[in-house]
Structures are given as C-alpha cells and as structure tokens.
C-alpha cells in the first residue's frame, strides 16, 4: 500500500519555479503536507500549461484523493477539471482563478492581483498627494499577474489627474531585466521621474540599483513601490531604498490543506477564499522582517 499511514494522497500541480515567491509557495505546501502526514505528489510544470494539464491527468489516473492546482493561466482547464470531477477528485485552486464553470472546482484560495495593483497605487497617491510621474515595470507580457496588476494600478492612476505613467516596459519579472530596462528609461525620463511602480519585488530591486548607479536616490527622491513582499524587499525597505511593497502571500499551505481536508470530509466550502494582502512600508519593515520566511 503506497498510501501514507493514516494520511491521504494529494497531487500538487505547480506552475514552475520561476521566482522566489513561487518557490516559497511550493515550500509552504510541501512542508504542510509533510506536517500533516499527507503523501504529496508534486509536479513542476516548468512554466508550461501543457505539462500542468498532463500532470493533472496523471494524478487522476494514479488515483489521488485531491488535487491542488496553481494554474499558470486562467483559461484551458475546463476539460481536466471535468475529468477530475468525474473521477470524484476535489480540486483546490491556489493563487489564481480559472475561467471555468465554478462547479468544477472546490474552492479558490488566492490573492486578488487587481486589488494589489490598486493598493500600490493608493499608497502612492497618498504618499505623493496625487502628484507623480511614474515609470512602470511590467511583468512578462501576457502573464495574468502582469495584466491584472497593471489594470488595478491604472484604475486608480487614471482617475487622478496629477499622476501619470510616463513609461511602461516589461522587466520580465526578473532583477536583471529590471535593472537593464531602468537604465535605458532613466536616460530618457530621468529628469521628470518621481516614482517607480514594479509588478514584483525582483524588478524593483534591479531598478533601485539602476537608480543608484545613475546617481539618484531611490526611496527618497524617487519613490519605489512594488508587489510580493519577499524578504529581500523588506531588507531594501530597511535600507531605505524601497518605499513600499504589497504583500502577496505565498504561504498558502495551511489554508490549502485545511480546504483539502474539509473537502475530503464532505464539507462544502466557499467558492473563493481571498487571501488578505497587506501593504508594508518602511515604517513597519524593521519589525516584520524578522518573521519573513522567504
């Protein structure tokens, strides 16, 4: 018998390992499974939806009892979810919703990317009194967080005549590209720039380096806001170079397995469990940094 003693067999179809945020999420889920004595089947799709679809089918044919899915995009899950449902396997979605009939999955545990963008914009509006010339560093083109974080941010900014996005380029969610793009944009927009909004912390950290190299003062003269709340971002806030990060909590393990256990026990769950995202700025960074695990 391959089932763990007294535990369940649960499959986790992860999207990839492309960022520290993602790795932290994986860690949280694996650790929680180990803590609860659950036999976790882990699959890493390496950023490819087709791998993730295959993984879910393989979980189904192996006869897992529940599946946790961190979908890489919102579309395209209808069929596999139906297959899982037909096989009587509850599916718990984490960190992103899917465009499918809600009856096909048990629940969604996720942050609201649009809301994150909105929160970042609101913080900036408050801090600058509604006057800012902003450079936006987008995530990978087409990625849901990039699209939604842009959308939420623009919602607020567009309603504010004094705030303007003067340039918006993709930094591909990574530090190196973030730095390169910022270097290029600074020669052009350096004169007017008062704030930087980055779709994730890594790009913001790169941008901060570029600002410093150009002789600017990130955190003081140029405000830098980003999303995710990884440890390095808190360190930057403590150092005074990053102003604010909107936490997008990746530590979904406990919530996910609570949901799994409830589903297996036959309880009904709400269709959406929203993970509360918090805004952290320099004022609280020093206190919080000690508790950061990732």
């Amino acid at each position: 018998d391959r089932h763990a003693a007294g535990g369940h067999v649960v499959g986790f179809a992860q999207a990839g390992a492309e960022s520290s945020w993602r790795v932290a999420e994986t860690q949280s889920i694996r650790n929680e499974a180990a803590a609860r004595g659950i036999d976790l089947k882990f699959s890493d799709a390496q950023g490819k939806q087709e791998n993730q679809l295959a993984a879910i089918r393989n979980f189904i044919s192996q006869g897992v009892e529940a599946i946790i899915l961190a979908p890489i995009v919102e579309t395209g899950w209808e069929d596999v979810l139906r297959e899982a449902k037909d096989a009587g396997i509850p599916v718990i979605l984490v960190d992103r919703g899917v465009a499918a009939d809600p009856s096909l999955y048990t629940t969604l545990i996720a942050s609201d990317f649009v809301a994150e963008g909105r929160m970042a914009a609101e913080w900036l509006r408050e801090k600058t009194g509604g006057r800012a010339k902003i450079i936006e560093l987008q995530g990978t083109p087409g990625a849901a967080p990039a699209i939604d974080r842009k959308k939420g941010f623009e919602e607020v900014i567009n309603a504010e005549p004094g705030m303007e996005i003067i340039a918006s380029q993709s930094g591909d969610f990574n530090i190196e590209r973030g730095k390169e793009v910022m270097e290029a944009l600074l020669t052009q927009y350096g004169g007017q720039l008062t704030a930087v909004y980055s779709h994730n912390d890594d790009m913001a950290l790169g941008a901060i380096q570029a600002l410093q190299a150009a002789g600017r003062k990130p955190g003081e003269e140029v405000l830098v806001v980003s999303i995710d709340g990884v440890r390095a971002a808190f360190e930057a806030m403590v150092a005074g170079t990053l102003n604010c990060t909107v936490e997008c909590n990746p530590l979904l393990g406990p919530m996910a397995f609570d949901a799994v256990e409830k589903a297996l026990a036959g309880e009904t769950l709400p269709k959406k469990i929203v993970v509360e995202d918090k805004v952290f700025d320099q004022s609280v960074a020093a206190e919080v940094i000690g508790s950061r695990k990732y």
Binding site: S43, E50, A54, F59, T75, D79, P141, A144
Partner: protein, 324 residues
Amino acid sequence: MNLAFRQRWLPTLVTAAVLLLLLAAAGALYPGFLRPLVFANILRNNAYLGILALGMTFVILSGGIDLSVGTLLAFSTILLARAIEAGLHPLPAAFAVAAVGTFFGAGQGLLIHSFRLPPFLVTLAGMFLAKGLAFAVSLQSLTISHPHFDAAASFRILVPGRAPLTTATWMFLVLLAAGILLARRTRFGRNVYALGGSEDTALLMGLPIARTRVTVYALSGLCAALAGLAMTLNTRSGNPAIGLGMELDAIACAVIGGTLLTGGVGSVFGTFLGVLIFGSIKTALDFHGGLDSSWLRIAMGILLLAFIVLQRALSRSGSPNPNS
C-alpha cells in the same frame, strides 16, 4: 540480417527497445502505470508535441531546422480563439488558421531558399514574429465557446480500460500515418531525404530543390497550426503565451527518434517513438511525485541522457560498421 535491412530498421528497433525498457521499468516501480488509460493520456497529452515533431522531422530530414513552431502554435491558438469569438464558425476558422500557418512556413522557406539564408536565423526571426503577432491578436488568453467546437473537443472513443482517445489524439494518429506515408511512399518524401543528404547532389540529380524546401517549411508551419488546433481542443482556449521552448522539445523528440540533425537520415515513426519516450519519462516523474523542483529537472535530464546513451550503445553494438 543483411545490410539493407539493418540500415533501415536498426535505429527504429533500438529506439523501440529503449521505449519498452522505459515502460517496463516504470511499470515495475509504479503499479498503476501499465494501463490503457495511462497510454491514452500519454498520447493525448503529447498530441500537440507529436504533431509539431512530425513537421519538425521533415524539416530536419531536409537538413534544416524550424525554431518558429512553438510560437506559431501559440499564434494559431489565439487566432482561432479570436476568430471564433468574432463569430466565425470553428470549421472555416480552423481552415483559415491552417492556411495562415502554412503561409507562414512557406514564407520562411522562400526566404531560406531564395536568399540562401541560414534556417536557424530565419526561423528564429519567425519565432519572434509569431510571438509578437500572437500578442497583437490578444494579450490575454481567450476561452473558446461554440457548440460545434465543444462537441469536437468533447468527442472521444473509449477503448477497453476506459481509456479515452480524443479528437486531438486522433488528429495526431492520423497525421502520423499520413506523415509515414509521405516520407516513405511519395516522391516529395524521398526528395526531402535527398535534399538533406546533400543539396549539391540533389541538385545534380535534377531534383526540384526549391519546391521541396519551401514545401518542407510550409508543412512544418501547417503542422504547427494543426498542433495549435490540437492544443485548443485540449484546452478550449487560445493562449498567446503558450509554446515556450516547445520547438526544442519537438527537436529533441525527433532526434531521440533517430533523426540526424545533419539531415537525410531518420524516420517519422522514429519520431513517434521519440515522442512516446519523452512523454513516458514525464509521466513517470509525475507518478513518482516525490521530487522537488530542482531534483525534478535533474532527474528529467539524467533519465533522458541515460536513455540516449543506452540507445547509442545499442545501435553501436548492432551496427555493421562501427567507426573509430
């Protein structure tokens, strides 16, 4: 065994042996592995890849390479989704997408042939172009909903063991059979082998090089579009960001199946075996399920490597003329 027989079948036999060994090992390790359902899933999950690899095989046989297929697939899926969303019936939409893919490929082939450009660069440009076009069609993925399309997507034949053969699977199998015939039984197919074996020789033998080369890339473009179709049938959506690195997977499948990148040597059936090996390794890793992200990648690499080395060793010991 005579020389002719060996030369023709040995690589395929060796690849098949490696596949069987892989399946046997996976079956021994994971009790539920050797079931019709799992096979059907391997076919279904890799149908798109198989179709891509099919087109890629012809390109590689002709001595070229096509890096554009991954993003061209993405472009096809999103184009189809957009067309259906705009009210076009799925059938003409599918034909239109297939035509676009074919033209895209033929365009690359024309550039490569008429100006003697390196296929690597031209199709690299094609890769970027298709990516840009895909995002131009839609930045976000789109769900396809149309009764006829849904019917096609949900169509399946259950073979014993409740293993579903879906529309995408059938597409793959039918195209595979057509590809085998095309390569083996038609003048075009043989001209592809000749072109890849040596362009000079093919020219001096009076073979239609221009037509063959352009057709090969057109075929690859068509396969990419059809793979996109298979993908949309699988996901009922179009996604401009999909297809990342798929061209490399397709190349790997063709090469594992015994096709030489130098051109002129290989077979479509070998590529099929290559796709199955690739798919089985991924499935076996899913069945194992106990590796973290880093070890998953390492295990994937080591397994692929082990089977390729094994394949080399087997075919070397069986080959008539072991060199050096």
